[in-house]
């Protein structure tokens, strides 16, 4: 069966480090960085590029629209 592969891009400067994407990701692939962006927030980042299935959960819950999810079908 075709498998979905995904990857997310976080708009780091837009991110407010609310952590909601972290919780929303069913595969626990997102965490907050230890460094801060220019606004002083610890921003979100994807920890594991391999496992993401592009489900978009993280993007859907992000209140600030910081996450773009890229998907491709892998046979």
């Amino acid at each position: 069966m075709a498998k979905m592969r995904g990857a997310i891009v976080v708009d780091i400067e837009r991110c407010k480090g609310c952590n909601l994407c972290t919780i929303a990701c069913p595969l626990h692939l997102v965490t907050l960085s230890s460094t801060v962006n220019h606004k002083g927030y610890n921003y979100a980042q994807q920890t594991d590029w391999e496992k993401c299935n592009g489900c978009t959960s993280c993007a859907i819950v992000c209140p600030d629209g910081c996450i773009t999810v890229y998907r491709k079908k892998e046979e």
Binding site: E13, C18, L20, I23, A24, Y41, I60, V61, C62, P63
Partner: protein
Amino acid sequence: MNETPMHYCPGCSHGVVHKLVAEIIEEMGMEEDTIAICPVGCAVFAYRYVDVDWIEASHGRAPACASAIKRLWPNKLVFTYQGDGDMACIGTGETIHALNRGENIAMIFINNAIYGMTGGQMAPTTLMGMKTATCPYGRQADLHGYPLHITDLAVNLEGTCYVTRQAVNTVANIRKAKKAIRQAFENSMNKRGTSLVEIVSTCASGWKMTPEQANQWMVDNMFPYYPLGDLKNTIE
């Protein structure tokens, strides 16, 4: 949803609902036929983020403002976007009467049980025992009265065609909320009466929690008092 960074606090429900509103308007192709009315409250700057014509109404009076506009522009999508202080406190009269007249507008009601913008004061929807800046020892019936469930009142008003209570804390709830808002918008276009979509929301800042804690607190405390689901739907 445009590129302007939002002024909301981290994790604020307003952001999620804004996204839904923007998406629905785009999906309906209504960008050029919408007149949106935002409140006095944290969503006062909603006009910065969603690209339609916006009006910032005075505190609580968005329903009156919208009533006039929909009557003058019957073919536009007209909706209000209001907080609980705005809609259920200072604007109670305008809310009840717009609902009761059956104005063909949609009303989105962000119930975060607090006055976010002014720094976390008690709202009419604040739960019993909940602590805020103006009830720092917890809401108490004799001092502060009871939480007002204005959405339930709306059900009994003849002018309403659709009354529902939603949340945006999970992907599933976000999807449901989106459907509800879309239904409300369609009702406005089809002149079916007034639709009221309550979104039970968090205000991490006002509640003095992290966004995660706030979501959990909402599930544990708000949902029992403000249960989710459709309360009235005369359309189906």
